[in-house]
Symmetry: C2
Subunit: 274 residues, 2 copies
């Protein structure tokens, strides 16, 4: 593998662009290929077997394009498919978003009471809960499936009455508990959810810290690349970012820009079939 | 084709079960095979080419099981794929939900001002608007993509603050117009939306009639079968309903029961790959 090769980033759709955004901020000299499996999103309500199959197809497509590392920027896919991908590509640095998210949560919590908001698939799979408990066996972890946050983020309804009422309804079981058992950290365990961070934080109230895995994932990628001697050289040419999507290029560009925080030039997006 | 053969019903997921429900009420002697492409839902945000490809695969699977007629119980698929399916299966009675929905809307409207609520794909494709205008060239049709209604129906949030605020936000452009130009009919142009009929009707207010395509589709199916001499005999044995899904059987059974209005026995559902 070449240090000048791009880093592959994979998500079910556009949510993982929040991770790409953090990666570009952390690693400004690196090139990236982002693959959004927009034809088959969402992964969050699909069975683990199907998610693993889709993740393998996506990883194969990125590896065929000569990536030097793979970031699984979809919590559902990272939770379900990381062991399979590790076995399939033994030499490839491989980073999921669940482990860094769990690490960020444990670092931020004083009480050890942590709530994970995620998709149905991620919650039922239990990967977040297990990762947190591996790092801090005394932690008290609750996990809640918040499927509607995905649709809200895709619709661009990041604030207003609907976002507020949705956050209130999902968080009610947490907020109704006494202060002595209330979590002090909420983990955004889906890459769509940072789009709703403001409203979630407002509903959760003071004393609850909101963490997501984007920044810690980017740091983990930087560390693994450095350890493997694969960081892009300081003298490397201008880094490139390319995008692959399996359907709906127009939607990818318009909705994706909200998650990436900058425009996605139409010429940089390629339609592929998996 | 045999009159005793089942009728195939196809949807991207569980929404089409509202159509199956109407079909069973209208045609109590018929057997049905329902196929929900749950692995690849939703169709509403996918490109027409992809939706056509998926619809052909689903129709092939049902035709291979010996159906005598095919109901495309997904507005997005009916809007995008009906001509392709008609060309592929020239002898097969084929009924989509768009045309019957348009007919119901035109029949119900006094003013000719009709609003269509549908998925992004259905709205952009324009099939509803065109069907209504073919039936009533003077009609004034507005169409709105209401993607979040899909997620609300799937989550089972049919009432409460979130459903109410969502309906208010989507319907605001309609309600803010003067009474002289306000539509008197709202068509639920997605098979998920009947689950939210009560809240949509409440927000729309009196004087606005809500129509969906389920009952008119069932009537159209009955007519086509009778015309083709394919209605099940009065003496036929007990009708059967079987279900096929491409992923997530547990979710299909639990969420699906809400749309079908009755329990779905786990033994009646088969997992298939398309």
């Amino acid at each position: 593998m070449l240090a000048s090769a791009p880093i592959g980033v994979f998500d079910s759709g556009v949510g993982g662009l929040t991770v790409l955004r953090a990666l570009r901020a952390q690693l400004p000299r690196e090139s990236f290929i982002y693959l959004g499996d927009t034809a088959r999103l969402p992964y969050g309500t699909k069975s683990p077997e199907t998610v693993v199959r889709y993740a393998v197809q996506a990883a194969d497509a990125l590896v065929a394009r000569g990536i030097k590392a793979l970031v699984v920027a979809c919590n559902t896919a990272a939770a379900a498919a990381l062991p399979t991908l590790q076995a399939r590509f033994p030499g490839l640095p491989l980073i999921g978003v669940v482990e860094p998210g769990a690490r960020a949560a444990v670092a931020a919590s004083r009480s050890g009471r942590i709530a994970v908001l995620a998709t149905e698939g991620t919650v039922l799979g239990g990967a977040y809960q297990q990762s947190i408990l591996r790092l801090q066996p005394q932690a008290q972890v609750s996990a809640m499936a918040c499927q509607l946050f995905v649709a809200l983020a895709e619709e661009g309804w990041m604030d207003g009455a609907v976002a507020d009422a949705t956050a209130r309804r999902y968080l009610a079981p947490l907020l109704e508990t006494g202060e002595a058992v209330r979590p002090d950290v909420i983990v955004l365990g889906c890459t769509h959810f940072p789009a709703l961070r403001t409203v979630i934080a407002a509903v959760a109230g003071e004393g609850v810290q909101i963490v997501d895995s984007a920044a810690t994932t980017a740091k983990a990628v930087a560390e693994q690349l450095a350890a493997a001697g694969l960081s892009a050289a300081a003298t490397s040419s201008a880094p490139e970012v390319r995008f692959l999507a399996t359907d709906g290029l127009l939607r990818f560009i318009t909705v994706g820009a909200r998650f990436l925080g900058e425009d996605i030039p139409a010429g940089d997006v390629e339609l592929i079939d998996l």
